[in-house]
Amino acid sequence: MPGTLPVLNKEAVHQSLRTALALGCQVHPVSRFERKHYFYCDLPQGYQITQQASPIATGGSLLVEPPLHENQRQRAPRKRNASSPHPGLEGDDPEEAAWPPFRVRIARLQIEQDSGKSTHDSAGGRHTLVDLNRAGVALMEIVFEPELSSPSQAAACLRSLQATLRALDSCDGLMEEGSLRCDLNVSVRPAPPSPAFPPGPWGPRVEVKNLNSLKALQTAAAFEIQRQIALHDPGDASRAGMAGTEGGQDLSRFNGHFEFKSVERETRAFNAATGETTRMRGKEGAVDYRFFPEPDLPPLVLDMDWVEAVRRGLPELPQATRSRLVEEHGLTPAQAEVLIGEGEAAVGFFEDVVRGGGGREGRGVANWVCNDLIGLVKAKASAGKGGKGCAVVASPYTSSPALTGQAGASPTASYAVHPEAMGELIDMVSGGEISIRTGKEVLALMVAGGSEDEEGGGRGGEKRQRPREIVAARGWGQVSDETVLIGVARNVVRDPGSARQRRQYKEGKEKQMMKFFVGQAMKETGGRAHPGRMETLLRVELRKAEEEEMGGK
């Protein structure tokens, strides 16, 4: 509104500072604000307040690691002619060279004002809707140095940043909701004919605006690299492989003297539907932002004692957590990734379960948490039951939406399942009290809030049944009476319907057939037989049956 003035949001400074410190940036005791001018409907003042000349922090770096599994890699859609692969192009190629982890340097971290949100697609593209609700709100912009060489590196960088921000809780990292947004800059250059030659000059920088997912970033990067390469050599794009890294194809005619005449310095928009970028404005349409110091905001002067206090209060960062989980608790990197992805609370929960009982093995606990618990809780939350009666015991952990079963978890969120109960369940399985299958059912009941006949009473979380109670109430305890088990084994083995399997067992397919018999035994006992014990008894029974058959002849 006319007449209103900006006032700096202290929490925005606090969160920017925490992020800067966590990324190892140099925090500047004095930083300043400037106005950056352009006319657009989503910019109510006609300028954006930003930190151009002296941002709050500069320097620092972020560890970028390759994705864990090949199948996790999001690949760019292959729009172009399949007969022209670009061999030197990383990220676009199915056989993209693996790359070791590296640190990408951070140029700057700055505080600036958000603009409104424009929606262009409504009413058949004739209208643009502008939502000014976020206009003027403080945001933090992190600019990386041009050190990423491929779409997959770009995506990995963003993923790593997302994890860091989530660990810090300085941003929820939700790209589809716009709380984390990304602009991409792409330049290509010709590969030197051999490593002995210096690389050619970088081509003009092309900016791609507002990529709202990891996939969009990776797709846009791949598309843009291809587009630029094809532009400067439309006749034979396949020979012009090179996307930011050295060591591409032998392109003797480029020889370091090639000029990227046909690539224009411009700003492009990414179309998620087609996976392509389209021109927004070119160099001649470039905006003169006419920066000048913001008179309405005095310089930001940080109390360095406060900065140090903030530094001391920083939580552990994902990379440190990961190495702790892998090295101390023996988790697989994938398990660690899942836990960290769920946030600090999930890691805390896991560690509480592990520490809660003697001899609980990290990898096993992680299996239960990652493979079963998180999925169950998410399913329940999405079924609309989230937040209602799903807490076992209020806990001091914060913000794991999955574990609390609530979409925006409150700072004093409660768990869907208490760590002690989870630990008890795991112990019961590993101690042979119940089978894994029964264990999963018990866990489902624990998450769902008890058995059906107990539900509806509006019971407090503390009163919910422990796993041992559930097992006892339902008679799901593992059958340990040897005579019963022997009886089961005998019935299974001597079942006339199993004659074929018995024969095959005898003929050497022992392993597969044993699985069959164990399965039959489980069916018989409702899953309550101990698989290992059952196997032993089945072997005895099978041998007996064989001997009897031979004796019978």
């Binding site: 509104m1 007449g3 003035l5 006319f39 006419r290 008179p295």
Partner: protein
């Protein structure tokens, strides 16, 4: 809003007569300390200071509603010739007045002690007033009604003031004669053929004509002080950051200040006391200010000093301001004021603030750069003028700005945009910033020897209407005595110190103002010097 403006002529005349009779009755009851002061014209009722008026309301001699009504009637009668107001908020004013009367009748705690109880006030139209149109004198904001009060306005209301209307100004404050208003010209009550100055010309004229005792103005490079000088009123530009700018439609953000125009120095102090203070939630630049002082007590203390009330006060006369561009008549009056200050015991010395011309040029580069940014928001997208049949967002913006802004504003936006443009910013904007630091250093060393600095407020008396249009560069250059305090963020007051002979047929003499500049946040000391000098005025 349209209080008695059109339809009810006859009853109005009767009322005025009744009021005159009443006012006479009060006159005998009030103490006449200020009655000899001629620079306030004949009024319908007799209060000549805020203190008088508030006291009479407190004592039940007159109701707030009555004061408000009389004021509105008088404005209606007199403003036809002057054109000080853009909007009268009669209905709102009357209901606020009645509400105050009810509170008084009900002895609601805190009401009778309100420092500005029942004071009718005029507000410059670039300051937001909830429910009352606010246009900044521009067509681009025609019909715009703010949803909120500027902090300054809210504080006045909290102190008991009643808003009677919004005053004319040069569009967005861009001018020194109020002739570049998008609506109409305002005339100087001292000589209707002349300009009241600007950009707070409407507020100055409203006070000078006696229609109101006090008005709010805004000062970016002299827009309170120069009209005060031209109309013979007291205009105070507080230190930058002393009064919240929240709700002020920005012109030059780094020098914009809201301040009072009044008939007397004491009234200026009363208003500043109500206005001053940090506004941390709305204006970050107020957070740097030390706590406001009790300006009224400071002025009272100055009044009670003995024979030589300025003994021990070192007053620096800025040498360059008597060498450049000054009219003889102005120079004579100022010299006389200097002699009087000396007679009051002050130690007078000459100080130097060199390169005044350069600072004036640099001021324009700075303020127009900021203005080009500040006026970018008037694009017709969210409020204000929007052309009919606008096709795209771009045509809305072009149309709104093309039709809405006047010539002077367009020229200044172009100049400011140019000064910030790539390739030119170093030569213009950056250079002006360097000069600004040079100026601050000059003031710093001047204040090492002097407690306050003085100069003529303006090099000339009021321009005849129409003169500015023919000599824009001269008009810009005539700001050279007021812009230094703006660029350095210092408090400065202009008070009438005498009259210079007039060349026009419609007046014999025209008022001349003296500017007193203080150190940052030292409003109390310039008010004290001004009050002591005011007491010796013979006009």
């Amino acid at each position: 809003m349209s209080f008695l403006l059109t339809s009810r002529r006859k009853p109005l005349l009767l009322l005025v007569l009744a009021v005159l009779a009443k006012a006479k009755a009060f006159q005998s009851g009030s103490v006449g300390k200020y009655h000899s002061k001629k620079h306030l014209s004949t009024r319908v009722f007799s209060s000549t200071t805020i203190h008088d008026m508030v006291e009479r309301i407190q004592q039940g001699q007159i109701s707030v509603a009555e004061v408000t009504k009389q004021t509105l009637l008088q404005i209606e009668a007199e403003d036809r010739a002057i054109g000080a107001f853009l909007t009268l908020s009669g209905d709102q004013a009357m209901s606020e007045a009645r509400a105050l009367d009810e509170k008084l009748a009900g002895r609601e705690p805190g009401t009778s002690t309100m420092p500005l109880l029942g004071l009718p006030m005029a507000i410059k139209d670039n300051i937001c007033t909830a429910g009352i149109p606010t246009t900044a004198g521009s067509k681009v904001l025609q019909g715009y009604v703010p949803s909120y009060d500027a902090t300054a306005v809210a504080r006045l209301r909290a102190a008991g003031a009643v808003l009677v209307g919004k005053t004319n100004l040069d569009e967005f404050g861009m001018g020194s004669t109020t002739e570049s208003s998008g609506y109409h010209v305002t005339r100087n009550p001292r000589d209707l053929s002349r300009s009241p100055g600007g950009s707070s010309g409407g507020s100055a004229a409203a006070v000078a004509s006696g229609m109101v005792l006090a008005a709010l103005g805004t000062d970016t490079g002299g827009s309170i002080r120069q009209p005060a000088s031209w109309t013979g009123t007291v205009g105070l530009k507080p230190t930058y950051g002393r009064v919240s700018r929240h709700g002020l439609l920005a012109y030059g953000s780094s020098t914009d200040v809201i301040g009072p125009l009044t008939g007397t120095v004491m009234d200026s102090a009363r208003l500043l006391s109500a206005l001053a203070g940090a506004d941390p939630l709305h204006d970050a630049t107020t957070s740097l200010a030390p706590a406001a002082e009790d300006y009224v007590s400071a002025v009272k203390e100055a009044e009670t000093r003995g024979e030589r009330p300025l003994a021990g006060t070192r007053i620096g006369l800025i040498r360059e301001t008597l060498q450049t561009r000054v009219e003889d008549g102005v120079s004579t009056v100022v010299q006389d004021a200097v002699a009087r200050l000396e007679g009051l015991g002050a130690e007078i010395m000459e100080v130097s603030i060199p390169y005044l011309d350069a600072h004036c040029a640099s001021y324009y580069v700075n303020v127009l750069s900021e203005a080009s940014a500040n006026l970018a928001r008037y694009d017709g997208v969210r409020y204000g003028l929007r052309p009919r049949d606008a096709g795209s967002a771009k045509t809305v913006m072009l149309g709104s700005r093309g039709e809405g802004f006047g010539e002077e504003v367009k020229q200044r936006i172009l100049l400011g945009t140019f000064s910030l443009s790539a390739g030119y910013a170093d030569a213009y904007y950056l250079k002006s910033q360097q000069l600004r630091s040079v100026l601050s250093e000059a003031f710093k060393s001047a204040f090492e020897t002097a407690d306050v600095l003085i100069s003529p407020t303006a090099p000339t008396v009021a321009y005849p209407l129409g003169k500015a249009a023919g000599s824009k560069v001269d008009m810009y250059a005539d700001d050279l005595f007021t812009v230094p305090a703006s660029l350095a963020g210092l408090p400065a007051i202009s008070l009438p110190v005498g009259k210079a002979p007039s060349s026009s047929a419609s007046s014999d003499f025209l008022p001349v103002g003296l500017q007193i500049i203080g150190q940052r946040f030292a409003e109390a000391s310039i008010l004290q010097v001004a009050r002591i000098l005011e007491l010796t005025s013979t006009d």
